[in-house]
């Protein structure tokens, strides 16, 4: 019981860190030893205590119902077939729900893990019987559903996976929302060819190394990737070379209080996993010491918009970005791995349109420097484009350094 409560406390903390609801709203539930656990109504999700998690009963009502979340009825039905459910008030998702009846992501993570997310409207969009009937039915077939003007519900086989889906919904919504605001031509973006990936895997507590300093470097980088939103929860990957092997973290973006794995993998060993092969390829064909792959949403906005316009590079508009990277190459996601590696080595970072960004360096700290710079560059450029849309700044092209076009 203590373990499941601890996990819920950690997920609540992570939800607040990612701004997925206000301080008190949203709710988390999980099944453990045939018992349903749910957060208390009005509890502060970022500061949950054990007593904030109550047992309302799943088959028969229990006294925890008096304190249970307002969406307990819906959670209770979802947990008849899933192990965990989360409801949040993700702002981009709520905004997108005003625009579409179904969220069809253009980005790799959204396409691969969600495919599509239904948006449903209710007369009483909070804690109603109508929701209690419909949402669990939809979630039998889909990992996520969005209540119009309210927010997403997700279900999964574990708390981590539910949070993963929630973050992907938030992430894909943010990308879609911005692309819509920018008026991007998405006809080409919708046909991008993304690699196949396996389903979400819970961390197994793999320990690829005993080196405390190295472990600490990985943890720091993971935590930064999470807090800076360089990649949705448990996405992205990080590795360091260790002779003929690499120490590899497959679920990079993670707060320090939620565990992730470190694996030890032979560089020459054939692996099916796209991301492992990508890291291996870098080490096989370069002398780089560390590799990071992230899915920064603003880099995806920029790259997906670019696909429609036929551009091949992101040229920073800000001084710091321009100083570090006159231009950052953008390639299609099905580009040959060798070409990717060449570009990464040459430019330190390369963006795969809609998929993510590959960065290389000497240490994990060095690589995440590139990823976080990319995030800032793309954030600023996207916001500037929006400012241009509403007419408060001039053409964005006038702010870029011309030299970037020939870099």
């Amino acid at each position: 019981m203590y373990e499941i409560k601890k996990q819920m406390i950690n997920i609540g903390k992570a939800m607040l860190a990612l701004d997925l609801q206000n301080t008190h709203s949203g709710n988390i539930s999980a099944l453990h030893d045939r018992e349903m656990y749910v957060t208390k109504t009005g509890s502060m999700k970022g500061h949950l205590k054990e007593r904030d998690i109550v047992i309302p009963g799943i088959e028969e009502p229990k006294s925890g119902l008096f304190q249970a979340s307002s969406e307990t009825g819906t959670h209770r039905k979802i947990l008849k077939y899933a192990r965990s459910a989360i409801h949040a008030h993700s702002l981009p998702t709520t905004l997108v729900s005003f625009l579409v009846e179904e969220i069809r992501p253009f980005d790799f993570l959204g396409k691969r893990y969600l495919y599509s997310v239904p948006v449903v409207e209710f007369e009483y969009p909070v804690g109603s019987l109508e929701m209690e009937e419909k949402i669990p039915e939809i979630l039998r077939k889909k990992p996520a559903v969005v209540v119009k003007k309210h927010g997403p519900f997700v279900r999964a086989s574990s708390l981590n996976e539910a949070f993963f889906f929630l973050c992907i919904v938030d992430y894909s919504s943010e990308i879609l929302l911005h692309l819509k605001i920018l008026g991007a031509d998405l006809s080409k973006s919708s046909n991008l060819c993304y690699p196949e990936v396996s389903r979400y895997k819970n961390p197994y507590s793999f320990k690829g190394t005993e080196d405390k300093e190295l472990i600490s470097q990985f943890q720091r980088t993971s935590s930064d990737a999470f807090e800076l939103k360089l990649s949705p929860f448990h996405t992205g990957s990080l590795s360091v070379r260790d002779g003929n092997q690499m120490i590899y973290c497959p679920n990079l973006s993670s707060p320090e209080y939620i565990k992730n794995d470190l694996m030890r993998i032979e560089i020459d060993e054939d692996r099916e996993d796209f991301f492992i092969r990508l890291h291996q390829t870098v080490y096989r064909y370069s002398s780089e010491k560390s590799v990071i792959f992230t899915h920064s949403p603003y880099a995806m906005i920029q790259s997906l918009e670019m696909v429609g316009e036929g551009c091949d590079r992101i040229i920073p508009v800000d001084a710091e970005g321009g100083y570090l990277y006159p231009a950052i190459p953008v390639v299609l996601p099905d580009e040959e791995m060798r070409v990717l590696v060449e570009k990464a080595v040459k430019y330190k970072i390369v963006v795969l349109a809609g998929l993510g960004a590959l960065a290389v360096g000497h240490t994990p700290g060095d690589t995440i420097h590139h990823s976080s710079s990319l995030r800032n560059i793309c954030y600023l450029k996207s916001k500037l484009q929006m400012m241009n849309k509403v007419g408060i700044v001039g053409d964005v092209a006038t702010y870029v350094d011309e030299r970037g076009k020939n870099w």
Binding site: T41, G42, P56, L65, F66, G73, Y124
Partner: protein, 598 residues
Amino acid sequence: MINGYNNRGVDVNLSTGKINYFNINEDILIKTLGGRGLGVYYFSKHVSPRIDALSEENALVISSGGLGGSLAPTGGRFSVTFKSPLTGTICSSNSGGFWGSIFKRTGYDVLIIKGKASVPVCLYISEGRVDIIECPELWGKTIPVLTDKLREKYTKKARVLGIGPAGENRVKYASMVNDYHRTNARGGGGAVMGSKNLKAIVVEGKKKFIPSNRELYQAGIYQADKLIRSMPVTSMAFPELGTDGLLKMVYEHDMLPHRNFQDVYHAAEDVAKISGECLRKEIFLSKKGCFNCRIQCGRSTQVGKKKGEGPEFETVALMGANLCIYDIKEIALANYLCNELGIDTISFGNTIGLAMELYEKNIIDKKNTGGFILRFGERGILEHLVHKTAYREDFGNEIAEGALRLARRHGAEKLAVVVKGLELPGYDPRASLLQALGYATSPRGGCHLKGGYAITLGFFGGSREVDRFLVDTTAEHIVTEQDSGCVADSLGVCRFSYFSIGENELSRIYSGFTGVDLSPNDLRSRAKGTINMERMFNTNAGFYRKDDTLPLRFFNEKILISGKMRAIDRETQFLPMLRKYFEVRKWNEDGIPSLYED
């Protein structure tokens, strides 16, 4: 004339048989809102604080809520105000059921009953008609028989508020019962009715009320409904588990009284035997609700061939947990009998708890108890004791006087768990300073409702949840809770709806219904006025600051609560809270309202 009210009252003098109809000034309605506020206003005006509560001079003032006649969720409750024969304080006692709603539809907002009939009588009230009817044949009848007979006499739509043998015998905590099972339980209103030879009040009415501003009224109702239907406490917990569903939670917060409040150390498996979950499994038949109720916390239950309603949480806490009787069926049977004979289960259970402690401490023995072995956990005695109490037979005559008098009689006043003579309900105040201050300052004595229903803040207040061991801010919270409770009592809505809604919704419904634009703050300021009137009555009745206290047990006996040995420290916790309470209420240091306006 204000829309939504009848603007009419009726004053019945049972001594003379005179019935006086009068108009109610609209200022009075706006100032008091109705229900408790209106009742306290007329009671204070008609009754001198120093009278004997069981004399002819006492009055019963029955008033319908300001939202009575509307479709506000749970808005059919009514109040009865009287001087309590148990405590000597003013006592406003509130009930649900359907009687209150129908009373308002007879065309009166308030009914004042004074004097004493020479023979047992009933009052019959319908639209435009009030009759005093002699009914000696009904004297001695239990509530179900009384109700059946009166409905046979009038119509099946007639609603009956009456007393059982306990009220006739002036049991100090006899209740008034309407619709068979709904009670104005606390303070002994049934004894006051009995002292007036008034057996029942029958109402039949169909008057309809049209809201003044339909849009505002409906917006308020829509929002209130939405919240009540969405918050699990009102949409699932109470409907599925009834009020007894609270038991486990109260136990888990180390608040559930045990052995006459000596401690809170129950075994979890014992609590499970009397919990709401157990009730649902063992004796539950169906849900029951009051007028226009979306919550449906009532339980229709059956034990063997006997059917009834309840038991409610407080009954299970006081007549079960507090006495170490962990048998839901035994408690339910005793509860059925309390409802039939007209006895408040809280005061009864608490007084039996005291008797058991006296017995175990060898202060009384079998000679005093008429042969009863009164050990904690003693089985098979509850029903007998209820019966003996209602008819004041043997030891029942002592039990009928309540815990304070029983304790005094045996020189053990400090063992009585009462405040101002009213027996405490099912929450040990050592586990919540909020509740402690609420008990001490409640106008009718040790009551969780009039004292501010602090457990809602203590552990299921949602984002409003307050640390129950804080000292500094407790007074502010308790004043707010007491004021809100008074708003609910005055408008005639159920406290349980307050778990989901509040003055924001109610002010809209009220303004839309009556056409009188009152903000949430306006509602609360009316409630403050009513609480000030109650306080003034009590002051004039001889209650002073020294009476705003708790039983010594809670100051002197430390018990393990939330991992710490705790009692309430009088000097560093209780008195500072009380001083702050007076300050927040704008009362002087003796606890007298300095801004009191008549």
